[in-house]
């Protein structure tokens, strides 16, 4: 059995007997084409008429799926021309959960990582609260220094509920994204997250790690990520150097 031939990921055909709605199945299929880069930015998505024929689904349902992808920012439509895969957006970190690697690539920077700490700990009270577990429950704690073009940019402090991903710390997170391991090895997909963003002053340890003066301004993000079943899995604290990192997003009136 070869994992590459049978990815745990999305199927590529519709199962009419399944209880999963057709539009949801088709959504997973098309989304899979895009996130795996089988359809690349700028590529035209098959026209609605072709999707209707190919999957034997009504145009209304096909359009519902495309609407979802448009909402996700994965594709855009042009009347008379077609539907196209979006160029990676500039909505840095404020609409989709990005790994540090993805974020840096989008900014045209080369990512680097140094693992500072990797240990299993009992959940501190405040962390337990965010992850909806009892204090003392085993958590995987991973602390990493992030570099952009070799320069220190951020410090990430990650707490994972260990029973959902036992042995998670045995992998190497200097080179491969944590989210990738969670998805591949533990089938843990983080589909949703809540975060707060604040400006804070760098304490001594952070200042030293990031090579800034004491009390330098930092962008602090606290994020809790959830599975599709709304189970909280990860509490993440990120501290970005204020002089080197900005968030960008778009608002509606």
């Amino acid at each position: 059995m070869n994992l590459a031939q049978l990815p745990a990921g999305p199927a590529n055909s519709i199962d009419r007997g399944s209880k999963v709605p057709l539009y949801h199945q088709l959504y997973e299929i098309l989304r899979g084409q895009i996130v795996t880069c089988q359809w690349k930015p700028g590529d035209m998505v098959p026209p609605e008429s072709q999707l209707v024929d190919q999957y034997d689904i009504s145009r209304t349902t096909v359009r519902q799926v495309l609407d979802m992808l448009v909402n996700d920012g994965l594709v855009f439509r042009q009347r008379g021309r077609g539907t196209f895969v979006t160029q990676p957006t500039l909505n840095h970190g404020l609409s989709r959960i990005l790994s540090f690697t993805e974020d840096m690539r989008q900014r045209g920077l080369t990512p680097g990582t140094r693992v500072l700490l990797s240990e299993v700990v009992g959940a501190p009270l405040e962390v337990a609260d965010h992850l909806n577990v009892l204090p003392g429950v085993e958590l995987a704690h991973l602390k990493r220094l992030r570099l952009a073009n070799g320069e220190p940019l951020s410090v990430e402090d990650s707490y994972l509920v260990h029973r959902y991903c036992p042995g998670v710390l045995e992998h190497d997170y200097a080179s491969s994204p944590l989210r990738e391991t969670l998805e591949r090895r533990y089938s843990l997909r983080l589909s949703r997250a809540q975060q707060t963003i604040q400006a804070v002053a760098a304490p001594k340890e952070l200042a030293r790690l990031l090579d800034v003066r004491l009390n330098a301004p930092m962008l602090h993000i606290e994020r809790v990520s959830y599975t599709p079943q709304d189970v909280p899995v990860e509490l993440l604290h990120v501290f970005h150097r204020g002089d080197r990192y900005a968030l960008y997003n778009e608002l509606l009136g």
Copy 2:
């Protein structure tokens, strides 16, 4: 002619002869009911079947409109129960353009304002660039100190293209929101905005105004707002005290 009887805002009936799509007309009508608080948070929106009858529009189209309102975060649906107006969300400042007043109300704080500066100036180079006008073009410049429960919280620096709203500075912005004046007096609706968010150190003047020490961490937001025709109207710089203000939002995987 009484403005209260004939608001410039949305009509409340469908015009089948109009070139504006039905779904868009219905969207404006329903959205109007909500933003004017004729339908209040928690209220049930008329069931789809009733909207179908009332406006003589097919259910598919009615559902398309409700989908848009759901996407806007204005309503949510519950199968078997109905569709309801949302409680004002906690997505503070990261998905909809909020006035300071709205923002404070959502946080349960009492807003206050002191106008620091109000003048017409020639556009500086950097500002002109953001607003897509030539350097030197007349801009209305408004600088305000914002208070929460009487304590200094933020400083807002606003630049408006003066020819779109001549005389805008003659109104009183200590008590009424700028956006409200723009919409009522000048029919300028800000429907979209782009912003960047950064942590910065408080310079001397800001530190004095906000009663923090020099170089204290501040959350800096730079925002350009656009009309529905994509004309940039306002460049806004906001500086929030880092210890008293946080942003919150939700992400998708």
